[in-house]
Symmetry: C2
Subunit: 558 residues, 2 copies
């Protein structure tokens, strides 16, 4: 059996290795247009930041270079580098490759298309000036590092995950960073508005100049080199531009071979990862995947999914029928001190897809026990289908270890758990690892309390609007004197009564009209909920607690 | 409605708070025999270690003391401290309490027994000498800290989680530590043998003297103070002894009231957490819980379960019917640089309960991407029901962030997932958080490969035995030259051929008999698996790969 694989990235090489493990006699050829293969592409921002050495980008976990010779000697996998696959003759089962101008035809029994993706190049005047980069290859990163040394100001176009990871990486080089985003928030497809604003607040505190709802109209160059950009028609000096406007699948070869392309624009595959030609498989960043929550096809390039695809393809080609079930839209990134990520649907996406949702935002003062050293806060938002109580998605932002929560939620969403399950899971508790009441259980409690009508909340966006209005309402700030001293709420409608003195000081508000709108604020939401019950029991009819507490609100409104 | 709660620990106070949240008019009395209430008991080792201040042990997340006045003023919960509940008159629904010798009877509509647990005091001669401590209250910790200042050598009896957490805590005081354990390993109910040995190796490297299969026969004192112990009939000087031999539920009051006690010796409750008297609830460390894996009752005291119990009891008393489903036997602890924990059944327990199990041990060189800075290894062991492929349990040891893996497995085991699901979950990947192929997916792959007969392994215990024997076999060490240089396998039967040169150097072993027993070793198991397939394809009939790789093995045999 001869298998030809086009693309020596995660999906292609994983397929090659899996085929070899399952079949020593298979002939395996991997074609790649680059000289350097098996790049840890997701690590490029950390290479730029100086956290990872260049050769590590191509190394195994046992510190050996994953080059052509390695694949030959350790796995008998033939790498044909610097070669372009130009055409597939499906009838004759041949691939035409072009290596340095010499054309060769390779026979295959099975073909694997793992051509990956390429950066989207926006249509901007002056885009071909020197100093304008994408980040896709190690060479791109080399050029960026070199250019950063001569750069005072860099403009990053696009505030998706590459854009934000590069804010962090470029920051290490001491440059001024201007981040320009077309939509109204960073990470537009990942996060709901209020959490995106939390991230933006952090970016701004690091000195990043952020322009949302903005557009780079032109890249201006001098002697062929970038010297400025026009942002919203204002000229801004800069010496470098990074295009971080997303990726698009490499489907030219598949199209040319008349393989079916999906609605997303990526190659369509069945659950065995076969294309419309059963002898041709495809995987990694060039294919679309089924979303396990909605059941519909989406395009979501990912290094971990590419590896999964490779294994599934390897199994199927060697006769071990294996399905790739689908994805949960899982994404995570580190940007400065924040961990930011999401699993499943955010609320905006879920609503746009027609789900009747209920959501909850919770701020946790600590990822560990609330008294354990080096604890850090995390903010979680959960989105639930109101009818089935099934968890549709979760988002996390904050300096604390929310990566742990995200992966727990991946399991929860994968197994289609409802809110009732969330409240019951027995997680492992010790003070260095978790509060005694686990965050995930708490998310279940909060949604349950909301669904039962015990907890009535105001969303931070609504509170912001109210504060900017002349509305007649009362804010009850329940934080301690020490907390208030650090961050006062400057509004005439705000009354401060610390939670721990609330019952004795209740007389201060007892004479308010029972119809008066009251908004309860504490740092996280915990104290507000207690007082909400108390006020409601005392006949107040219009009391709500602020979702996510003051911790989220202050960042959100900054 | 009047609710009397006996015990102002996690379960009792959580029940009180939940009742107050649900019913402002309820009269809530909480009785405790101590002056100091609401202790973060699990934090005592960190207080001893100097990581947490004493007052923090009693503080809320918003830095306010959780004392009697706090509960009164913020929640209108009456704490009756320094009072002992002596008797329950179930017919008249009254509790007799004794406060400083004055007896009072309290009426109740509902009673909650949350009397917690107490340390098991082993029957050892001399146990009443000064310098012998348990660790249960803040006062115990105070005394221990004081005594540590005058101590050169401390003997800890019992290598359960308190014993190990105290090794770490006492170490900070610069004392010599002798740890004595009756069984053949540390953490005897938590870990299987080989993982326990890994932990022991770490303890020894920190200078802890460990005696397993050992017993303290006598505590010898001078002028009433500990001066030595007899361990296995040898006299060993010491100035302090910690009894860390487990906990036993406080059931005296329940027994006296003729409430049903379970087979485990703890109070029996139904899923609503009612005792055999429906007006009396019980929760926390004084009750037994259903294990969600086996369906049988177990006794497993835990701060997080106590909190869950409190909430369930609070709901049920206020008319919101809520079940406590059960526990997964989740446990985690930090001991020096290691995170150690388990969810569900370990292999020894599963086998003793009659499960037909298959297990897999995997060493992961990194908790993050294998090239990201500050990565640390983790070792996972998974136990699976061979017939249903359902995951029964997981254990984790190592310096890496395995707490994350444990909580993911809590969700997995809770939802009764099989190995097939493990392979499919789409976790969130970025280099600072995970390898591109997630550890949990990999555990699924390994078990699947074993179940299909692709991967044949040797358990480290068996290899150790073989190395100590005169057996005729070959060890193929596939590690790099650099790895071997650091840790050589000194055995005449060992041949070193680095993985990356394996195919070209195959001739070195090509002439071996195809029946020859060959054991493949690399650092983690990854390379061994590749070569296993190669040798099998080349006709070798008796090849196995070492489970957990050399990383586990070297610690295990140290």
């Amino acid at each position: 059996m001869r298998v030809v694989i086009i693309g020596a990235g995660a999906a292609g090489l994983k397929a090659a290795c899996r085929i070899r493990r399952r079949d020593e006699s298979a002939e395996i050829l991997v074609i790649d247009k680059e000289k350097e293969i098996s790049l840890s592409r997701c690590s490029l921002p950390y290479y730029i930041a100086g956290l990872i050495k260049r050769d590590e980008l191509f190394k195994t976990a046992f510190d050996v270079l994953r080059d052509k010779a390695f694949f030959k000697s350790s796995k008998n996998i033939e790498i044909i580098d610097c070669a372009l696959a130009e055409d597939i003759d499906r009838k004759r089962k041949k691939v035409k490759i072009n290596k340095d101008g010499s054309i060769e035809e390779l026979d295959y029994d099975f073909l694997v298309i793992a051509t990956g993706a390429k950066p989207v190049i926006p249509n901007i005047k002056g885009i071909n000036s020197y100093g304008v980069f994408c980040l896709y290859s190690a060479k791109d990163a080399d050029e960026i590092i070199k250019r950063l040394k001569e750069t005072e100001t860099v403009v990053i176009i696009g505030a998706g995950f590459i854009g934000l990871e590069c804010c962090d990486a470029f920051f290490e080089h001491g440059v001024d960073i201007i981040l320009v985003e077309l939509t109204d928030k960073v990470l537009p497809t990942l996060l709901d508005y209020e959490l995106a604003k939390f991230v933006e607040s952090n970016l701004k505190s690091m000195g990043i100049q952020l322009f949302t709802k903005s557009r780079v109209d032109e890249i201006i160059s001098k002697d062929g080199e970038v010297c400025a950009v026009k942002i919203n028609n204002n000229v801004v000096k800069c010496q470098m531009v990074l295009l971080a406007t997303g990726f698009t699948p490499n489907v030219e070869l598949a199209k040319k071979a008349n393989l079916e392309i999906g609605k997303t624009g990526a190659i369509k595959v069945n659950s065995l990862l076969q294309t419309s030609d059963p002898n041709i498989y495809a995987g990694g960043d060039c294919v679309e995947c089924k979303c396990l929550i909605t059941g519909s096809e989406i395009y979501i390039p990912s290094g971990s999914i590419a590896n999964m695809h490779g294994r599934v393809i390897g199994n199927n080609i060697t006769g071990l029928k294996t399905e790739f079930k689908g994805v949960l839209r899982s994404l995570i990134l580190k940007v400065f001190d924040l961990t930011v990520g999401a699993i499943g649907l955010n609320e905006e996406t879920a609503k746009s897809l027609g789900y009747d949702t209920i959501s909850a935002i919770a701020t946790f003062p600590s990822d560990k026990s609330h008294i354990y050293p080096e604890r850090r806060p995390i903010v979680l938002k959960i989105v639930v289908d109101k009818n089935t109580k099934r968890v549709l998605g979760v988002q996390a932002v904050g300096p604390g270890a929310s990566d742990k929560k995200l992966d727990v939620f991946a399991s929860i969403i994968h197994s289609k758990m409802s809110i009732d399950d969330l409240m019951d899971i027995d997680f492992a508790y010790a003070p260095p690892y978790s509060p005694a009441i686990n965050h995930v259980n708490t998310m279940g409690y909060i949604v349950d309390n909301k669904l039962r009508g015990f907890l009535r909340t105001i969303h931070p966006i609504e509170l912001k609007r109210k504060l900017e209005s002349d509305d007649d309402f009362i804010i009850l700030d329940l934080r301690t004197d020490a907390e208030v001293k650090l961050n006062r709420i400057d509004d005439r409608r705000c009354i401060h009564i610390p939670f721990e003195k609330f019952r004795q000081d209740f007389h201060k508000i007892q004479n308010l009209s029972k119809e008066k709108e009251i908004i309860l604020i504490c740092s996280t939401g915990y104290r507000s909920y207690d007082v909400l019950e108390y006020l409601t029991s005392n006949g107040f009819k219009n009391v709500r607690s602020l979702e996510g507490g003051f911790y989220l609100f202050k960042a959100f409104t900054r």
